[in-house]
């Protein structure tokens, strides 16, 4: 089971290391992690994806909540939510592949944000599985569309509707 944990954290030195250390110490895995201050600069918001059965996810949430600097934590996957991840992918784009990559980017509603005579850098925003699908799609285009570099932001998300994570 995949979980997206949204964590409000005191924006203090060392707070992030406690979260990351907890995962290492208790043998939990982190698939993605993204963190930045919120509109209230005393708080950081951290979004973390992990996997495990229901008991494990419950235990991870409790252990996180136990950290003194964690203000609140929820599992976005426990209810309707919006999740987004940003992907930048630099692709070798020459010959026929150049058009094919452009078309794929259009289909996925990506944007080409940097161009050279033999590369494209494509930006794509969406849920993680959409990003995976795009990488697979351009990877299938044959040798000429070699992926040179990939960077993903990790998942960010919020609950739908009135579900709000706040102090």
């Amino acid at each position: 089971m995949r979980a997206i944990l949204a964590v409000l954290l005191e924006n203090e030195a060392g707070a992030l290391s406690r979260v990351v250390g907890l995962f290492a110490q208790r043998n939990y895995n982190i698939e993605t992690l993204t963190v930045a201050p919120t509109e209230d600069t005393t708080l950081s918001r951290l979004t973390l994806t992990t996997t495990g059965d229901a008991d494990r996810i419950a235990q991870i949430i409790k252990q996180l909540d136990k950290l003194v600097e964690v203000v609140s934590v929820i599992n976005l996957c426990a209810a309707d939510h919006v999740e987004r991840e940003l992907l930048l992918v630099k692709v070798r784009a020459v010959g026929e592949a150049r058009q094919e990559i452009k078309r794929s980017a259009d289909v996925f509603r990506g944007q080409i944000v940097d161009v050279t005579s033999d590369t494209y850098t494509v930006q794509l925003v969406g849920p993680s599985n959409k990003l995976d699908a795009f990488i697979n799609a351009i990877g299938d285009n044959g040798a000429e569309a070699t992926i040179l570099e990939v960077v993903r932001s990790g998942v960010s998300g919020m609950g739908r509707g009135n579900r709000v994570l706040a102090v």
Partner: protein
């Protein structure tokens, strides 16, 4: 008018304002401004140890026995790293402690300066929380937060890392300790959920074979009175974890003694047969449950803990109660009284009938396989370690504070010294730290100067922190050390006997042991050696005699080196699966 104080003075004043009696510590470069601030005051006594690990264990023993947080002061680098074992020990057993560590000046942090170590980083997995002082003005607020966090909710150690320049006597700041602190992210549960409490009481009333399983949380939560009232009212058997001994009187007829790996036969059998486990302030440690999938197979589980993360961590509960032990157990008791009153009289009779059947069963187990309580010294035979603990129990009338180290002697002490009061049994249950016993006993004696304090140890554990004999002389600590000397690392040897074909790999050193009597005499204390069972009584009486009241006495008891601790859980089994002696097993294994 607000007072102007330096960072170092603010630190010590804050400790005074917290009511701190003792600081256990060891000076060094980065802590010298703080030590100078200690020199300028009289209220707090500093206890100079001989190794920082001992400072943390002393603070720990002080905290366990008094319920007050222990305070440690060490310098940066090796001072800080030496404290880690003691911090981890306190963390595993949820002991309130505040550890202040000197740090190199702020502008040197990160430069690999002399005696620099990342104390916040190195201690992170073994603290409840930690702080680094970024600015001297923060010191009073940080100290206040540290004590609040260390002592509330599930207690634990808190580290404060103090860069030397923030304690500089040349700079002063406004000192005001009355300012309230705000910790929006830290609000431990206190009151339990009434719905769950009602459900728990209904389950207790419906149970035919209930058992109380009591842990250290009842002691930490000062819930002795409500527990005793509840257990008496329900009339069910009470078993205790290693950490919970004394929460319920060990000599009470309801008490089954300790459960778990070296628990009593009756306690483990009761846990296996019960239909309702009432777990209070216990965390289903692997040394208790044995194989979790075979744990109490017929039982409903009520689990009360102050830490929500303990609930459903190892064993799923049917009824979960999160809150302060004292509050919750008292609420269960009150609800129990009111539900019992509402029941028709006929039903109450039926209830006690059910429990009487249960007691018949429990008492059968007690009779069948109790511990060896009737041991008598036999001339010409080696002293059994169990007999040594029984003799200690008799001579101290069961009223001593007893600290222990880790190993066979610890289990013998837990099995054979019956604690009737909480905070009397002081041992490292979670981390299992050898070297804990002596310094912990010193902390106990500091906190209770008039009390009789014994340290049951083994020669292996004792040699890990025996330098503290010097500290004992300095502060006149009249501890009685009972050294169950089996000339080997007994528990390791026992496992090697049982699981490794008797190959004693690196567990013996009998040809190189010191003469402990001479050793302790060299430290200025009294040494007694006894190896003849018929002289054990006299040796023990002498140790606790009036003439030695103010002396540290070390009784080197040469015990039977072949003795094993039984019962012992069979690995991977249910709680009923135990080895009862060198020739006897129980449960599925029989």
């Amino acid at each position: 008018m607000t007072e102007m104080l330096s960072g170092g003075d603010m630190l010590i004043r804050s400790l005074q304002d917290e009511g701190v009696e003792y600081i256990f510590g060891y000076p060094g470069g980065s802590a010298l401004h703080i030590y100078d601030a200690i020199f300028r005051q009289q209220k707090i006594e500093h206890i100079l140890v001989r190794h920082e690990q001992a400072a943390t264990h002393m603070a720990d023993g002080y905290a366990r026995s008094t319920g007050q947080p222990g305070v440690v002061l060490v310098t940066s680098g090796p001072g800080a790293t030496n404290a880690i074992t003691g911090i981890a020990t306190a963390y595993m057993d949820s002991i309130p402690m505040v550890v202040i560590a000197g740090q190199v000046p702020r502008d040197l942090i990160g430069t690999d300066a002399f005696q620099e170590t990342d104390m916040v980083g190195i201690s992170r997995p073994v603290v409840k929380h930690s702080f680094m002082v970024r600015d001297a003005s923060e010191i009073p607020g940080i100290v206040k937060k540290a004590f609040h966090i260390a002592t509330t909710g599930r207690p634990g150690p808190v580290v404060i890392d103090v860069p030397k320049d923030t304690t500089d006597p040349a700079e002063t700041f406004e000192y005001d300790y009355s300012k309230p602190i705000n910790l929006r992210s830290y609000r431990p549960a206190y009151e339990g959920d009434m719905g769950q409490i009602k459900a728990a009481v209904a389950a207790i009333l419906a149970a035919k074979r209930p058992v109380f399983y009591v842990g250290g949380g009842v002691i930490q939560g000062n819930a002795k009175e409500p527990l005793r009232a509840l257990a008496k009212a329900v009339g069910a058997p009470v078993t205790s974890t290693l950490m919970g001994l004394g929460a319920f009187p060990g000599t009470d007829e309801l008490s089954l003694g300790m459960l778990g790996m070296h628990g009593t036969y009756e306690a483990n059998m009761a846990m296996d047969e019960t239909d309702l486990v009432i777990a209070l302030g216990a965390r289903f440690d692997d040394r208790v449950t044995n194989n979790p999938s075979k744990f109490s197979p017929k039982a409903k589980i009520i689990h009360m803990d102050v830490d929500p993360a303990s609930i459903d961590k190892i064993i799923d509960s049917h009824i979960a109660l999160v809150g302060d032990a004292s509050w919750v157990i008292e609420a269960i008791w009150a609800e129990y009284q009111s539900q019992v009153k509402q029941r028709p009289a006929a039903q109450s009779d039926k209830q006690s009938e059910h429990l009487s059947e249960w007691w018949q069963q429990v008492n059968g187990w007690r009779k069948e396989h109790g511990l060896n309580h009737g041991l008598k010294p036999e001339a010409g035979k080696a002293i059994l370690p169990q007999l040594a603990v029984q003799t200690l129990y008799r001579v101290t009338k069961g009223e001593a504070f007893v600290s222990s180290d880790v190993g066979q002697h610890q289990m013998f002490a837990a099995q054979y010294y019956h604690f009737d009061e909480p905070r009397r049994w002081i041992n490292s249950g979670g981390l299992g730290t050898m070297g804990f016993g002596l310094p912990a006993a010193m902390g106990v004696q500091m906190g209770s100067p008039e009390a009789v304090v014994a340290c049951v140890t083994g020669e292996g554990s004792f040699m890990m922190n025996m330098q503290e004999l010097s500290t004992c002389l300095q502060y006149g600590l009249p501890i009685k050390i009972i050294n169950l000397n089996n000339q080997a690392l007994g528990m390791v040897k026992q496992w090697q006997d049982m699981q490794y074909g008797g190959r004693h790999s690196q567990s013996t050193y009998s040809d190189s042991l010191p003469d402990f009597k001479t050793l302790v005499e060299a430290f200025g204390h009294v040494g007694i050696k006894v190896s003849d069972a018929t002289q054990l009584d006299d040796a023990m009486e002498l140790a606790f005699s009036e003439e030695n009241k103010n002396r540290l006495v070390f009784v080197d008891v040469w015990v039977d080196p072949h003795e094993h601790v039984y019962p012992m859980a069979i690995k991977g089994g249910a709680m009923r699966d135990m080895i009862l002696s060198k020739t006897q097993t129980s449960g599925g294994a029989s």
